[in-house]
């Protein structure tokens, strides 16, 4: 859209004629500019799957549990022991936007607190990563080009930090994810 627009000889003549009212020696120059805008459909982002760390056994030493955003695999470090082979998943979001445009995926905060049902204890979730359409796990905020189809799936993983002797129970929290046009 940055093409240089040549002068319009028609406009030049018309303008020169008008200028004669002021001075017989007047000259006029005319130029044209494009005016443009892109009307975009609203972005939609729907959470279709929760980020779940499954069942774990706390240890006498601190540890972590991580869910890989790209693969959904679960891993642990430190005093944490993983239980079972199901019940964990990356979070998944279904997005729609104008195809082939740039959007920005971001999370409201990089550290999220999970609270024990019934109270009494918390854990933190951090190191959030996103995978767009099965691609590599990447930090946020990040810009992505929406596929021409106008739909895209984002999976989000992260790392849960488990304290030594973490109180037993079910812990929940909320991740706020935002998708905007760039």
């Amino acid at each position: 859209m940055m093409t240089k627009v040549p002068f319009s000889s028609v406009a030049l003549c018309a303008a020169a004629g008008a200028a004669l009212m002021f001075s017989t020696s007047a000259q006029a120059g005319a130029a044209a500019s494009a005016a443009r805008t892109i009307v975009r459909p609203p972005v939609t982002l729907a959470n279709t799957r929760a980020l779940a760390f499954g069942n774990i056994v706390r240890g006498t030493a601190a540890g972590t549990v991580s869910i890989n955003a790209q693969t959904g695999a679960r891993t642990s470090t430190g005093g944490v022991t993983l239980i079972g082979t199901t019940g964990f998943s990356s979070a998944s979001f279904a997005a729609t936007a104008l195809g082939s445009t740039l959007v920005r995926l971001s999370v409201a905060t990089g550290t999220i607190t999970l609270t024990r049902a019934g109270g009494g204890a918390t854990m933190t979730l951090n190191t959030l990563r996103a995978s767009a359409g099965g691609g590599a796990a990447q930090t946020m905020p990040r810009n992505y080009t929406v596929p021409a189809s106008g739909t895209q799936t984002f999976n989000i993983g992260g790392r849960l930090n488990v304290a030594a002797n973490q109180a037993a129970g079910a812990y929940t929290g909320t991740i706020n994810v935002t998708l905007n046009y760039q």
Binding site: M2, K4, A28, G29, A34, T37, V39, R40, N180
Partner: protein
């Protein structure tokens, strides 16, 4: 009287465009771009000021893109008087591949238009020693309720009358 003066190359844009500003002409150096918007269920407006500041009212929501004011440049001689006129008070921009339209109006030059153009009654006076001037132009976009998504383009023209 300036026919033999050398051309004044004063404006570059991006990496690929150079505007050659000859005496007593006008060239467009920046395109008017309202950027990306989302139409609402009610009508709205998007304004790009001559300084490139974008605002929205009504149902229109700003949604990224690279909004910018248009800009035009010319060259006369210092203290020369001139008028600047718009080709039309409003224009229509049309969706690529479609028939949907929007109106762009309220074209606005900054007042004063720039550091090198001074208001002289209804006219402007060129104040730069080298006679070069450039001025930005903003406008208002009228966005309809549920305006069909797509890329809309149109053209408007400006004329500088050197006196």
């Amino acid at each position: 009287m300036f026919a033999n003066a050398p051309a004044f190359a004063g404006v570059t844009q991006g990496a690929t465009e150079v505007a050659i500003v000859e005496n007593l002409t006008l060239v467009r150096t920046e395109q008017l771009d309202f950027g990306g918007i989302i139409a609402g269920t009610t009508a709205g407006t998007v304004v790009v000021s001559p300084l490139g500041v974008r605002t929205a009212t009504g149902g229109a929501v700003l949604a990224g893109g690279a909004p910018q004011a248009a800009a035009f440049a010319g060259r006369g001689r210092r203290n020369q008087l001139m008028t600047i006129t718009f080709g039309a008070p409003s224009i229509t921009i049309t969706r690529g591949g479609g028939t949907q339209t929007m109106t762009v109006d309220s074209f606005t030059i900054n007042n004063p238009p720039s550091a090198t153009l001074a208001v002289a009654g209804p006219r402007y006076r060129i104040s730069a020693t080298n006679g070069f001037f450039e001025f930005p132009v903003g406008a208002t976009l009228r966005v309809g309720a549920n305006q069909t998504p797509g890329l809309y383009t149109g053209t408007f023209s400006m004329t500088a009358n050197y006196q």
